[in-house]
Symmetry: C2
């Protein structure tokens, strides 16, 4: 039996080894199979790659695909851009750039510093893409009304706007009514209407006035709507003396900070009805010494967040009757600001609130950009004896809790030669500005916008540098100044 026993000896451990190996291999397979059985379920949760999304997926993909198209950092593609031959929108290039991908730089191109287009904040929203994005469903707020009591205003947006004012500390909102309009532009005449005597009243029409230099639209719009109840009355200076006796029947626009010269204004006509235009009363443009608390104030989203195209403004009004008339004006003329915009701006205001005092504080970002631009422009203009800028001194800001450097939205440029039309002088040097006469000031002044895209500001600095350098070779007559 030994041989047999001997013959079995090699097989026993071999068979055992094979068995052990086989078992572990089978066990491993069992694990894999179990794993494999779970997997489809897991993929199923993701709807085979739609990550749980259904109707919003297509729109989200289209938006991201469009945003991903490169325009060389000098332009962008918008979902509603004009469709090219491929049926898809192409790059829209910044001024001074061209070509299908905006990579072609236009040599010696004209700098456009005319409009107050707040594109300096665009990079902020690109950087915070998720926080600023919103999906609008096809059935969102189709109704005329946005509330049970038939109002055209989103209560939630109103709440968030009040929160923003409280958090920034730039306005007292608790005792005010909020009235939305299609930009503060529409609120100009809405408030003039609200503060004017009733059409049936025997009272003479209100005179709408503002101190020079003033924002041109006060005059343009009041003149366009000029009616029985109100008429444009020109600059306050004309009435300053008369108003010692009575300032009844005046509606004074007080812009603080002022557009164009960025001064924090006070009313000139004491006792007259005043509309405080607070469009620029935000910490990236100006120090906030204290919360504004006037009876009638105007704000717009375009300056704090940069969304000028959305056309949302709001008035803070103490008196209920005045607020009702302003609301009635917006109702009768446009039936309220777009509900689509109200939804989008709710997202934007929430994102701003969430950013405050953090690393991504939108006002810190904005102040940093505007301060740098003001520094750069000053550095150039200070080389010149022909041009000067308004003088702004650093001031304590209750929002930043420190003395902050100047960061105005506009430069109010003066040509030192008395006879010069400053707008024309700069235009010859390929810089488009807004002449002082638009603000009923002297043509020795012109407004230069510092709010636009980086490309616009860079072009402005280039053209201005050329101009200042050319001064050295300028007529000796200059030295007589």
């Amino acid at each position: 039996m030994e041989p047999a026993a001997r013959g079995q000896q090699p097989t026993r451990p071999a068979g055992l080894g094979l068995l052990v190996l086989l078992c572990s291999s089978l066990l491993l397979n069992a694990v894999f199979i179990a794993h494999h059985l779970f997997l489809p379920a897991r993929l199923g949760d993701e709807d085979g790659g739609s990550c749980g999304l259904s109707w919003a997926l297509q729109a989200a993909r289209e938006a991201e695909a469009t945003a991903a198209i490169e325009c060389s950092g000098h332009g962008q593609v918008f979902l509603d851009g004009v469709a090219g031959e491929d049926g898809r929108p192409g790059c829209e290039c910044n001024t001074c750039f061209g070509g299908p991908d905006c990579s072609v730089r236009k040599p010696n191109c004209t700098a456009d510093a005319d409009s107050g287009n707040p594109l300096f904040l665009e990079p902020y929203w690109r950087r915070h893409a998720a926080a600023g994005a919103v999906v609008v469903s096809g059935w969102h707020r189709m109704s005329y009304t946005a509330t049970d009591d038939g109002k055209f205003q989103s209560l939630e947006l109103e709440n968030q706007i009040r929160q923003l004012h409280r958090a920034v500390g730039n306005a007292v909102v608790d005792d005010k009514h909020v009235v939305f309009g299609a930009g503060s532009m529409q609120l100009i005449n809405a408030l003039v209407y609200a503060l004017s005597p009733d059409a049936n009243a025997a009272a003479p029409p209100s005179r709408v006035v503002s101190a020079v230099p003033y924002y041109g639209s006060y005059k343009t719009q009041t003149a366009m709507f000029d009616g029985r109840e109100y008429k444009w009355g020109g600059p306050t200076a004309v009435w300053a003396n008369a108003s010692r006796n009575s300032t009844n029947g005046f509606i004074e626009f007080v812009t603080a900070p002022n557009n164009p010269d960025t001064e924090l204004r006070e009313p000139v006509l004491r006792g007259s009805a005043a509309v405080f235009d607070r469009a620029y009363y935000w910490p990236h443009f100006t120090p906030i010494p204290e919360p504004a608390d006037e009876d009638v104030m105007m704000f717009t989203i375009s300056k704090p967040s940069g969304h000028a195209g959305s056309r949302l403004g709001w008035a803070l009004i103490r008196d209920e009757k005045v607020a009702k008339r302003a609301y009635e004006y917006v109702q009768n003329s446009i039936m309220g600001a777009s509900r689509d915009t109200q939804l989008r701006m709710l997202r934007i205001v929430k994102a701003m609130l969430a950013s405050l005092h953090g690393e991504e504080d939108i006002f810190a970002f904005g102040h940093d950009v505007m301060r740098t631009r003001w520094r750069r422009l000053n550095a150039v203009v200070s080389q010149s004896r022909r041009f000067s800028l308004q003088n702004i001194s650093p001031q304590y800001c209750t929002y930043f809790k420190r003395v902050r450097e100047p960061s105005p939205a506009y430069a109010w440029v003066k040509c030192e030669r008395e006879d010069e039309d400053c707008h024309e002088v700069l235009l010859k040097a390929k810089i488009i500005t807004r002449t002082g006469t638009v603000f009923e000031a002297s043509k020795q002044y012109t407004r230069v916008s510092l709010l636009k895209a980086n490309d616009d500001f860079d072009a402005l600095i280039e053209r201005f540098t050329d101009l200042v350098n050319a001064e050295k070779y300028d007529t000796p007559g200059l030295s007589s100044i």
Copy 2:
């Protein structure tokens, strides 16, 4: 050796079997391992379940989660609804329903048939959720201007609107300028302004008129903006004789189909400047005998697509000078319709265009709803000798290419008893309508809106049925009619 051989005999096949089994098992292991190694890569393509989306994902998920909240089919949740204690918006219930999920039916509730809120189209956009959805990025069209030449209007939206008119065949667009406004509401005064003599002209103010019954806002808004250049002149009848000699200085609003009585109107004052309000000239409300081709026409998105809350209207204007003045009015008063709305409406108009003449034709859907509602209301009112509706006969429609049943937006209800205030009579029966006096018609008439949500219409039918049934037990005086 045999025993040994014999001893080895059983092991040889056993070992072979084990080997084969082991090999196949190991092979299977290899397959699983390979499969397992590929898998993370595959999941990687999906970014671990974000399906290739980055910044738009969160907004898309939030929108779908909000849309998924059930309100018992009698209400809905909006992204910008008032946040509850959990910080999330809750159900906004239709009239006659209440409770946190709108499941509580208010017994014997008042039917509100006052406003022309076009919510009858809401189910269409819910059914076509993907086609109507749009993602708005935080940096979308922040600029004041939407085109290189500084316009406030999206060229692409203008193109698509022209396409829609061509495809529907309800207006000749090729020789017209398109001017956007914040709803056709704003275009009322924009066109009055554009057609009025220049402020500097010596001409007397234009008289703004319309034939009774007319849409009340023509009067309200013209009176509110009443200025040097124009004034409300009342119903055309007052001027019909005078106008035989001269109709200079008149601006006549011709509403076709008319609001409230849905008649296809013609101008009364021949030779006067006419503004054709074509808000309801779409195939779900009226037959389209031919494309409208007047010099000045008004349209609004709220009636063809149902998006009243978006506030987008457009004028089609033949004369360039008139178009420029209308555009100037919109620019000076609101700086153009919201760019957010223009993006959203581009998506909506594209979706409408894609649906035409297909199974999901939005006008076929709309006509079906409105025709059914008209039938149901007729069935009820025809039981009554006290009330009557305007008479509409079926007519050939060039869009549907067949004779179509009536499907008016409004019922123009007449109370047959001469002394009755029809609005009051219906109000006592818990039906809110818009009294004829608002349209400067007799109080024997009142307007009943057929455009609202299904719940509203059902309540209307219930209340009206109760009212008509009550007639049987009414005063015998009725039989004398």
